[in-house]
Amino acid sequence: SAVISQKPSRDICQRGTSLTIQCQVDSQVTMMFWYRQQPGQSLTLIATANQGSEATYESGFVIDKFPISRPNLTFSTLTVSNMSPEDSSIYLCSVEVFGLAGMNEQFFGPGTRLTVL
């Protein structure tokens, strides 16, 4: 498994501002992912972040709105830019590791609860 931490754990922001969320993992991993979970909903993948390459965004998510950095194998950031109340969600990072089941498993950080006023 992997131990993942996120900062901040929660924040309340004004519309039009930006927030950068940090994700730190306790071991080197190739694949890191960012998800959004809107209130009462399931998780939706925003992008995949591999070290040394540009993040790959899913349909409906763009780099200008959600720029991602991946400077090394243990760290990534997600910025939510020019926020609006619709961006109020929990943002989670996850990492992929080779698990006991003999396949890749994803482990998640505790999430960042964002409220935009």
Binding site: S1, I4, Q6, F33, Q37, Q41, S42, L43, T44, L45, T48, I90, L92, S94, G99, A101, G102, M103, N104, E105, Q106, F107, F108, G109, P110, G111, R113
Partner: protein
């Protein structure tokens, strides 16, 4: 759209009873994973079942997979108040990405 559909959306049972949650999906998969989420916190990985496996156990958890019906179930035996959470299934297919179902909100009443 989401790959997985979970049933029921909400389940409320008495402590000590068994809880069964079901997940259906639409396309072929490499594996299916179950997660637990407490009160909007991060997800805890519970169990992974490969597409060539039919049943898997972990403590009080039992997961079954029927690829012919494209469905999976999660059984929690002898439920406890601490099992109160949302449970999500997530499938991994050819694109090697996790696709989550809508989740089941489980409430264990003391």
């Amino acid at each position: 759209s989401q790959q997985g559909e979970e049933d029921p959306q909400a389940l409320s049972i008495q402590e000590g009873e068994n809880a069964t949650m079901n997940c259906s999906y639409k396309t072929s998969i490499n594996n299916l994973q179950w997660y637990r989420q407490n009160s909007g916190r991060g997800l805890v990985h519970l169990i992974l079942i490969r597409s060539n496996e039919r049943e898997k156990h972990s403590g009080r958890l039992r997961v079954t997979l029927d690829t012919s019906k494209k469905s999976s179930s999660l059984l929690i035996t002898a439920s406890r108040a601490a099992d109160t959470a949302s449970y999500f299934c997530a499938t991994v297919g050819g694109a090697q990405k996790l696709v989550f179902g809508q989740g089941t909100r489980l409430t264990i009443n003391p």
